[in-house]
């Protein structure tokens, strides 16, 4: 895997999570004040950075084959779940992630909560809301940075890609002071799911002692193949949903009238 591919994979994955974290920090900042929200977000980023810094060197000390087997398996399972979620959303089975609705709900809840200071934090509720949001969304970022980075012995590059995504999304979010609802979150999730699944399968098999036909070139078949499978599944779900809606309309009294 080239450094460019590693950067792109981690950057895209982190963009998805950063959009969700930014929505929560914006709600905390607008409803409870920016100082507490910033403290909470920065504290969560510090916790995640310490985790990556502590676990990173430990992971790179593991023999390559064992590391690839374990990390590849985790990535494969994690990536297929992302892909599954993106396919179900694209197929209309589950609702698309609505950043506007989430933002409004968080804002309404945050505005109702009581305010009380703790230490140097002027509003504890705003702090914990931002802290939890960034920590929960950021854990997936840390997981991706650690798995991709340690496997390629390039944790600093993976961390830089994550940092670039967080800065870009964060800056855009705070510039418009609104959730980034226009980011094609599900398309990004689909793309990242494909990459995590493909690289996970590739590394897990290599770690198990498998030799892929064509070596690294196998990824050029594996990744488009997984993407095609996902697209076909989403299309099949949409077609099935459309057929069901037509049947429902035909069997309802208004449908019979038509």
């Amino acid at each position: 895997m080239s450094a460019g591919a590693l950067f792109v994979a981690v950057f895209l994955a982190c963009t998805v999570e950063a959009v969700e974290a930014t929505t929560i920090v914006l709600a905390a900042g607008l409803a409870r004040g920016w100082r507490s929200a910033w403290y909470g977000a920065l504290a969560a980023v510090a916790v995640l950075a310490i985790g990556v810094a502590a676990l990173g060197p430990a992971l790179t000390a593991i023999p390559t084959d064992a590391l690839r087997l374990v990390i590849g398996t985790f990535l494969l399972v994690f990536g297929v779940q992302w892909l599954r979620k993106a396919v179900l959303r694209a197929g209309g089975i589950t609702a698309l992630h609505d950043e506007d609705a989430i933002f409004r709900a968080k804002l309404a809840t945050a505005e109702r909560a009581a305010s009380h200071p703790r230490g140097t934090v002027p509003d504890w509720y705003g702090f914990t809301l931002a802290f939890q949001g960034v920590l929960l969304e950021g854990t997936e970022v840390a997981f991706i940075v650690l798995t991709f980075g340690s496997n390629q012995h390039a944790i600093p590059l993976a961390a830089a890609a994550a940092g670039a995504a967080i800065v870009l999304v964060g800056t855009a979010g705070f510039a418009v002071r609104a959730p980034l609802a226009r980011v094609p979150e599900n398309a990004l999730k689909f793309l990242v799911g494909v990459m995590l699944t493909g690289f996970g399968a590739f590394w897990a098999a290599e770690g198990a002692g498998t030799r892929w036909p064509g070596s690294d070139a196998a990824l050029l078949v594996l990744l488009p193949g997984i993407a095609l499978l996902g697209l076909l599944l989403a299309a099949a779900l949409r077609r099935q949903g459309g057929a069901r809606n037509r049947r429902t309309a035909a069997s309802s009294p208004s449908g019979q009238a038509l």
């Binding site: 399972v77 994690f78 297929v80 089975i93 854990t139 997981f143 399968a201 897990a204 196998a218």
Partner: protein, 68 residues
Amino acid sequence: MYRRLRAGTAFVCDLVVGDDWRLALGLAAAVVVTVAISRTTFPSWWVLPLAILALLPLSVWLVARRRA
């Protein structure tokens, strides 16, 4: 302490395994099969792509059927 440990374990499980534990279990089993076959002289590269090809549509279909 015990409650926090349990909550932490549940969070990590949820993070990696996600919504469908059977899909995760099936993929983990496919990795075990890959390890076993790679110890022989037979090629084993096809096991994981085949597992993805079989398990992902099955998992998606089960959700679609439940929602129908």
